[in-house]
């Protein structure tokens, strides 16, 4: 098992799937300024995905580049956390998904900025600037919606209830993360849990939201066991290169 390859796929796929989903909002946002903001975040995610997947391809050493990895893996080959593939839904669903991810991402990028792998550290440092901005954006919206109208409050409370169980996948520890942390080039995501919990609690307090009682978490993304959504998402994303495998784009 190539732990570095696996680890980098997780990073790349999180960013790729989120970026893909955010791209679906372009032209359909609730207000023009927010359309631009969401697309900006999506662009950052795609940029991160490209960087991580390129590095993953190098780590694998089988000649696969970012596009070969993005467009020619089947669902079971994807390593994104389940949270990322939850559907866009309405704006509240998207913002909750984004907030839960961003609060994790700032911890992740801070930790990886100290990676013993210079390339990983460089990507992490750049991504850290972006995720700090993303968190500010998603957190501010959580507060606006949670402490807005009755309608926005109940909508976003429901989103939180629905999505929180899928966030656990972000903190999944296994042999891969153990090796990554042990060898100093990666981080064990379980270590981010306390800080993430605090961030979620603080946001809930400010947004007048109730953190739902603990429910069993949905996991499996890091091992290629996904929800029904991913297959549809990939079918759309991968259609052109798979239909014309000899073409250069």
């Amino acid at each position: 098992m190539n732990a570095r390859f696996e680890y980098l796929l997780r990073l790349g796929d999180d960013a790729l799937i989120l970026g893909q989903q955010l791209g679906l909002w372009t032209g359909h946002g609730p207000v023009l300024e927010e359309d631009i903001a969401l697309t900006n975040i999506g662009l950052d995610q795609i940029g991160q995905a490209r960087a991580w997947l390129t590095l993953a391809g190098k780590a694998e050493g089988a000649g696969r580049d970012e596009d070969k990895l993005a467009y020619f893996r089947d669902q079971s080959g994807f390593r994104n956390a389940l949270l990322c593939e939850r559907p866009n839904g309405h704006f509240g669903d998207t913002i909750v998904r984004q907030f839960l991810f961003d609060a994790y991402a700032v911890c992740l990028h801070a930790a990886l900025s100290g990676s013993s792998d210079a390339e990983m550290a460089a990507i992490a440092r750049k991504s850290a600037k972006e995720s700090a901005y993303h968190l500010r954006h998603s957190r501010a919206w959580m507060v606006r919606l949670g402490d807005g109208t009755e309608e926005s409050h109940s909508k976003v409370q429901q989103s939180l209830n629905d999505l929180l169980p899928y966030a656990g996948d972000l903190f999944h520890s296994d042999a891969v993360t153990e090796q990554a942390a042990g060898e100093g080039w990666g981080a064990d995501p379980a270590a981010f849990r306390p800080a993430w919990d605090t961030a979620v609690d603080e946001m809930c307090a400010e947004a007048c939201l109730t953190r739902p009682e603990s429910v069993p978490e949905q996991v499996g993304g890091r091992e290629g066991r996904h929800t029904e959504q991913l297959s549809f998402l990939l079918a759309e994303m991968q259609v052109l290169p798979r239909t014309y495998p000899d073409a250069q784009w």
């Binding site: 791209g23 032209g27 207000v31 490209r50 997947l53 807005g148 926005s152 290169p241």
Partner: protein
């Protein structure tokens, strides 16, 4: 006040009214003359300057139409973001469509300096009262359409837009300068896609030619009806809002683009196209203006979908906009309460 003999000096109310009205008209004629001289001297009109009502109205119409076009234009291209065939292409397309949102925003912002609210102009778009460029009522059917739009549609838009950088209304001119700086990247990325496809596999070549076949004529129509069929043009040109005629720009576009098609190895879908040695210009075949009229009046392939998509986004976003507004009010009143308490 009485004059000698006990008769009032002030004339009766009726004729006072007439005199004041005459003063008004003379003032306005003077203002109009000065306005037109100012414009003729290539000076800029700014939001707080006096302007004829018709000038204001025509600018509101043109700028808001332009803004709506940018926003609606996000949809045919936005369709292909999720299916972009490489991550680099995906990122480039996202950036391009995001730019278009930004352009819409600059233009709405320029429009608002004329005293309209953005939300009201958007309502006009959704109700069908306001128009937008008819080119965006065509569907994007394969990846090469994204190339064709960048190459042809943005190419035509650039040609329309560059002259507007010198238009008489300051905020519009400045918005266009910003837009034009960003637009050049749009055309280049489109052309690069076409080059790639036209020089690629047989399937890609076929897609490229097919896209060209469908986008060529609508792009020519982007310049508007023939000069002798354009009601708004004359006044707009007199006020330096419109700098070149529809036919002039269309000709320029054709002359520039046909050689580019040749370079790509694509066939212009116009069997009557020929080079006129004498005039030094290409002559196209007959443009089907009845199609243009059909599309402009709401019966193009995608008119309904485009407006429905915009309306849906707006309606479904109402609760979000409302929440943000209410939250801001809550914060403001909490701050006020805190200030009072602290005092």
């Amino acid at each position: 006040m009485n004059g000698f003999g006990g008769e009032p000096l002030l004339p009766p109310i009726g004729s006072l009214h007439v005199i004041l009205r005459i003063f008004d008209v003379l003032m306005e004629m003077d203002l109009l003359q000065r306005f037109e001289a100012y414009v003729a001297a290539e000076k800029k009109i700014e939001p707080k300057d006096w302007m004829p009502d018709a000038y204001r109205k025509t600018l509101i119409r043109q700028i808001s139409q332009h803004a709506h076009s940018e926003i609606v234009g996000m949809l045919p291209e936005g369709n292909w973001i999720s299916r972009a065939p490489s991550l680099k292409r995906k990122a480039i397309l996202m950036a391009k469509v995001q730019d278009e949102a930004g352009h819409g925003l600059y233009l709405y912002s320029a429009c608002e300096t004329l005293g309209v609210q953005r939300d009201d102009t958007i309502e006009d778009l959704h109700s069908g009262k306001a128009k937008y460029s008819s080119i965006f009522n065509y569907p994007t059917l394969n990846w090469a359409d994204i190339g064709a739009i960048g190459w042809l549609v943005d190419g035509a838009a650039i040609m329309n837009q560059v002259p507007i950088c010198k238009c008489s209304y300051g905020p519009y001119a400045r918005a266009m300068v910003r837009v034009c700086k960003e637009e050049s990247f749009h055309q280049r990325q489109g052309f690069q896609i076409m080059m790639n496809m036209a020089g690629g596999t047989e399937d890609q070549k076929a897609m490229a030619q097919d896209a060209f076949n469908r986008w060529w004529w609508p792009s020519l129509m982007m310049f508007g009806p023939p000069d002798d069929d354009s009601p708004n043009s004359a006044q707009s040109m007199a006020w330096n809002i419109k700098r070149f005629s529809n036919d002039e720009l269309r000709q320029k576009f054709v002359d520039l683009t046909v050689p580019q098609a040749d370079l790509l190895g694509l066939t212009v879908p116009d069997p009557d196209l020929k080079w006129n040695e004498e005039t030094g210009h290409y002559e196209t075949g007959e443009i089907d203006w009845s199609e243009f009229k059909r599309v402009v009046s709401g019966h193009g392939p995608c008119n309904k979908e485009r407006i429905e998509a915009r309306r849906k986004a707006w309606d479904e976003g109402a609760w979000v906009r409302e929440a943000a507004r209410v939250h801001a009010e809550k914060r403001a009143s909490r701050r006020a309460d805190a200030n009072t308490a602290a005092a």
